[in-house]
């Protein structure tokens, strides 16, 4: 019996998705809907001429934060929870390779986040319609901003999975969230590295390029101002996020492949 790896990765991903949905993770959408409705009504009353700007800024920032919190707090438990509850024992005693398990869990959570973002995007566009009464052509760039936010989730989920493969859930959450914060200032870090000299420059440059560049994936402000996003940036960010996430997953797999499940 020789089945393709995807025949095992896909059911694991689907089960991860099912777990998230049944554990009521998507309930965050209710909070998001309340936030967006409240914001739209409030903004409509207090701001004149910049309603769209405020709604897009607030909406996309909320989408990003809600998703990052979910990807970190579920991501850190993807592997450790299965070890702690010993559900992994009956899984790995089947013809499932450890890398298939890790990749399946990763894809399952990313799928959950994509669906979550899809519903939140409906909320953002709903609020936008409420304050502007119609859509304009530049509003389409909001979709690109949402795509970049999903790319952020892909990287954050990979990082959470990587950290959880060798540290406790609490430390994994601290590491992943810290990297998310530092990564939001990655461009500043690179600028700082360029200003230094000698060995410091080497170290600072290395560190600046090692942290995920979330600032390049953040186009919320220009999009809120109706500015377009270049095709080159879309391509660059897509490649960057996929390569970065692949590296984190490879790291997680390498560690997990050697781990004793006591």
């Amino acid at each position: 019996m020789k089945a393709a790896p995807m025949s095992r990765v896909f059911p694991i991903a689907l089960n991860t998705f099912r777990e998230a949905v049944r554990d009521r993770v998507l309930y965050n959408l209710v909070a998001f809907a309340v936030l967006m409705s409240g914001a739209a009504i409030l903004v409509g009353q207090i701001s004149v001429g910049i309603e769209k700007l405020v709604v897009i800024n607030l909406g996309l920032t909320a989408v990003s934060l809600f998703g990052v919190v979910i990807s970190i707090f579920i991501g850190i438990g993807l592997v450790s929870k299965e070890i702690d509850k010993r559900t992994l024992y009956t899984l790995l005693s089947r013809p499932v390779r450890r890398w298939e398990f890790v990749v399946g869990k990763f894809l399952g959570l990313v799928g959950t986040l994509v669906l979550n973002t899809f519903f939140m995007a409906i909320g953002v566009f709903g609020a936008l319609l409420y304050v502007a009464h119609h859509f304009a052509k530049p509003d389409a760039w909001v979709l690109v901003a949402l795509y970049f936010i999903i790319l952020q989730f892909v990287i954050v989920t990979g990082l959470a999975l990587l950290f959880s493969s060798f540290s406790s859930p609490l430390m994994s959450a601290v590491f992943a969230f810290s990297l998310f914060i530092v990564g939001a200032f990655a461009e500043d870090l690179r600028g700082f590295a360029r200003m230094t000299k000698g060995i410091t420059r080497w170290i600072a440059t290395g560190a600046a390029y090692l942290v995920p560049n979330f600032s390049a994936l953040n186009v919320i402000t220009p999009v809120a101002h109706g500015q377009p996003v270049s095709g080159q940036l879309i391509l660059y960010n897509t490649a960057y996020a996929l390569i970065y996430a692949t590296m984190t997953i490879c790291g997680a797999v390498l560690i997990f492949e050697r781990r004793n499940l006591k």
Binding site: E19, R22, T90, S93, R94, P95, V96
Partner: protein, 313 residues
Amino acid sequence: MLAIEILGLEKTYNVGFWGKTPKHALRPLHLNVEEGEIFGFLGPNGAGKTTTLKLLMGLVFPTSGTARILGMELDDPRMKAQIGFLPEQPYFYDYLTARELLEYYAQLSGVAAKERSRKADEVLAKVGLPNVAGLQLRKFSKGMLQRVGIAQAILHDPKLLFFDEPMSGLDPLGRRDVRDLMEQLKHEGKTVFFSTHILPDAEALCDRVAVIHDGELKGVGAVADLTSGVRGKVEIIWSGRIIPPAFKGLGADCHVTGDTVRAIVSEECQDAALDALRNAHLRLISLSPVRNSLEAYYVSKLQPGKAAAEVRP
């Protein structure tokens, strides 16, 4: 062909603050299990039974040594498609229903899509849970989870089954059901390797047993051989609560239980003991040789000094 061939499998953990103190969870283990037999892996808690099973399942990696299962290496996915594993005190995804869980596992084990649902219902009926397929596992009792654990192990019709403490959490009726199921599996030609510290279960089920203690194999043997030997003593039971004075001189070990007395005497004193009962007009109920039990073998392997003292006439 051997079902399991363990070749010096060893596991040492480094413990302590600096991680430099070695703790031997399993000392080099050499063990063979034949195809088609029920093999009991006996030992007290912490003896190394679960460590051995985890090593065989590839959940922990050996410090040294290796093993082959059905002639294949431990990391061979083809081998894993032919085995079933019930971990100790199993826990499953509690947000799934029993059927969903079994269908998920069936998919991972390579069972064809059209057969998954039928297989799930079939094994649930086999383990005595025919009417709970649609119930979420978070609503299951410990005993029901144990049965689901057995169901997922036999789901894909494996050739070889590993059960870690399969009777744990089961009531007497449940234990009997599992014993029956294990006998049925043997009848179907499957090999069963199970760990337990419940000796009557092992004595009733196993073809052969191994005793492990402190991570070290203490002995292996066929249950029939271990329990067939006579220990040179006889057990005499009679009605009443009176122990004739002559029994003291015979060195008998007597116990009064209700309205019967049970005495163990050496074979040489058997006639004298029967004469003493006749003289006291006591009614003999039974006279039988004292046979070796698995318990005696187990104790002799774990506490050699104590066992020797017990056997001494």
